[in-house]
Symmetry: C3
Amino acid sequence: MSAEAKLEELGIKLPPPPQQLGIYKLFVQTGNLAYLSGHGPFLDDGSLMKGRLGEDLSLEEGQNVARQVGLNLLATLKNELGSLDRVSRLVKTLALVNCTDDFYDHPAVVNGYSQLFADVFGDDAGVGARSAMGTNSLPGNIPVEIEIIVEIKD
Amino acid sequence: MSAEAKLEELGIKLPPPPQQLGIYKLFVQTGNLAYLSGHGPFLDDGSLMKGRLGEDLSLEEGQNVARQVGLNLLATLKNELGSLDRVSRLVKTLALVNCTDDFYDHPAVVNGYSQLFADVFGDDAGVGARSAMGTNSLPGNIPVEIEIIVEIKD
Amino acid sequence: MSAEAKLEELGIKLPPPPQQLGIYKLFVQTGNLAYLSGHGPFLDDGSLMKGRLGEDLSLEEGQNVARQVGLNLLATLKNELGSLDRVSRLVKTLALVNCTDDFYDHPAVVNGYSQLFADVFGDDAGVGARSAMGTNSLPGNIPVEIEIIVEIKD
């Protein structure tokens, strides 16, 4: 099943393409690879989810934030490529989790995003290499920021 | 206007190519992409700017540090490629801001670097995908560290 | 000397391929580049080394952890490619050091990994671009996490 068909089957409605918070592009393609900037969890009304894991948010809330970042990444892909079906595979993810010093469950948080991509693009093409890490602060105090590299169909 | 001509028009003098602080190369090319290592803010005398945002440095000082990191990146590009005109575009930036837990203005800090690249390479080729993030510590207590991927002309 | 021959000469025995802690692949190849996920310091018995630099571990202990992460990366490369000799060069490394706010010796810690790769793949092919950074927390409280990009022979 194509990613667009899967999105419809799952009843997923994408948020508007995210705002930019500086001098950068959300998406740059070189050869058949597209680099997406670090994305945050914008909601449909343009506001950002906020807070730190280990302090303000539960693990489940963090997973939901990560999923929202994933929806923003999908919105950028759709906006730039016209169709998610032009993505041939997820290559690489760097996922940043805003957290206290004693929070250790970053991979579980980031799975909220990774499960979404696996659902939409499939268990092979939708699952890539990944690094999950903690940080003591993120722009605007968002809980999760994610950047990805995807392969584009010729 | 070419990047070299722009550099001269702006009266920008590049610092010497930066020192290495470990077992790595400052620049590795594969295909038509060049990966530059995390660069710090070396000054002309070989010393490093230091301190944390939210504690030791104002936003404006942080932007100035980020610009200095940008000058170091340009120095490496010039040293490795012979001419900045061989850069066809900035692809991707990962910018690390050394800061307190309650500092949230990373994108504004990093703009100090991004504006320099936009000035030198132009508003299209000089603006790439970007992630800005906080960290609780950087090598030698530098305020900003930046790594980039650029596309090289054939 | 080939990487496999070098490994044998150095008497290095690789650990088993590392476990995955989430929804991702340890290795994804696109074109002639392979992206390896953030790896941690699994020991032969499947347990993880833990602790923070500047608090729980000395510099030398940190370097040993970084070397162990390197062994895990080699184990993944060998498992995925069949032979380390299929790696033509190390392109890029992002190395994360779990540390206190006043720890500044990240590059020296990461050299524990970089020296291993230089030993196995040689001083040119085994040395790539690199960024070393601090973080306030890593998954499972591991001291070092490293992701790499390598170039694969056609």
